[in-house]
């Protein structure tokens, strides 16, 4: 993984807060009626972002009743306000305050919707059956090539991965289960699961390169 301090290089110079962001921070860090008012406005902002996301993700899908969508938006907003207040010190003014706050509502709404879509469905952890890889739209010759390569991938999955890496790789990549759904089922986090997926992918790639099935990728593939 990349050293996060490099990703934060842009933050080295002190940043002057824009007027609106300064107002938000001042009010949320203050007390009394001004703070209460700011929290109410923050909640409205989070509801708006959550509604936007719910609408965006359920466009054309009518299975989410208006009432349930409202509850989902409110729950998301409640959690987002708590998260924003708890992490207020993380906000350094390198973006607008509203942009920074929005991401908590969007993440919350996205996670809820992904989990909702899989509610009551069994998460397949069976590594013999990979429906996602039975792709269509390719020519027969390409299918044959793909089939051969996927055979090698399957072998590598069996041979080089740990049981946990195998479970994570096959569930996420072979079955297309959303990472937030698997994280919930395994009582872990998106970031921890992705780390496992990342390690699994590296091992598989190295194995397939060594076996001569795919060319060596550019430098930097060694991490």
């Amino acid at each position: 993984m990349v050293d996060p301090s490099r990703a934060a290089a842009e933050a080295d110079a002190p940043v002057a807060l824009d007027v609106e962001s300064r107002h938000w921070l001042g009010a949320l860090r203050g007390n009394g009626a001004a703070r209460d008012d700011a929290i109410l406005r923050l909640h409205e902002l989070m509801v708006r972002a959550a509604r936007f996301e719910i609408h965006r993700r359920t466009r054309g899908v009518s299975d989410l009743a208006a009432e349930e969508a409202d509850i989902l938006a409110l729950e998301t907003a409640d959690d987002a306000v708590v998260a924003v207040l708890a992490r207020l010190d993380d906000f350094r003014g390198e973006s607008r305050f509203t942009t920074w706050a929005y991401k908590f509502a969007l993440l919350g709404a996205g996670v809820r919707l992904r989990r909702r879509a899989w509610r009551g469905r069994e998460v397949p952890l069976d590594h013999n059956d990979w429906p996602l890889l039975a792709d269509t739209g390719a020519s027969p010759a390409e299918e044959a090539e793909t089939y051969a390569l996927l055979g090698e991938l399957r072998t590598a999955v069996e041979e080089v991965l740990t049981p946990h890496q195998r479970e994570v790789f096959v569930t996420l990549i072979g079955h297309g289960v959303p990472i937030d759904v698997l994280a919930e089922r395994l009582s872990t986090t998106r970031s921890a699961l992705y780390k496992t997926l990342h390690d699994a992918r590296r091992k598989l790639r190295a194995h397939l390169v060594e076996a001569g099935f795919i060319p060596l990728a550019g430098e930097g593939a060694d991490r």
Binding site: A7, R56, L106, R114, L133, L197, L204, F213
Partner: protein
């Protein structure tokens, strides 16, 4: 493009990006800044090494990123 090349490309997608990439937590930490940089036409990927690779490898973070881009677009139009 040969069939073999195409088949390899499909396999490559399953194997994810090859370069160093951010974790999901690191991605979330810089999401707002990366999106604002993208929308203002600045060199977002250069400023945040490993971000583009992570968005290629992680569909969930890529969706969250796309959502924030769309929301900011929507706000601008409103």
């Amino acid at each position: 493009m040969s069939e073999q090349h195409r088949a390899r490309q499909r396999l490559e997608r399953l194997l994810g990006p090859t370069g160093p990439e951010l974790s999901c937590d690191e991605c979330f930490a810089v999401l707002d800044r990366h999106v604002e940089a993208v929308l203002s036409g600045r060199q977002a990927d250069e400023a945040f090494p490993g971000m583009r690779e992570h968005l290629i490898g992680c569909p969930a973070c890529a969706e969250d990123h796309a959502s924030l881009v769309e929301l900011l677009h929507h706000e601008e139009r409103a």
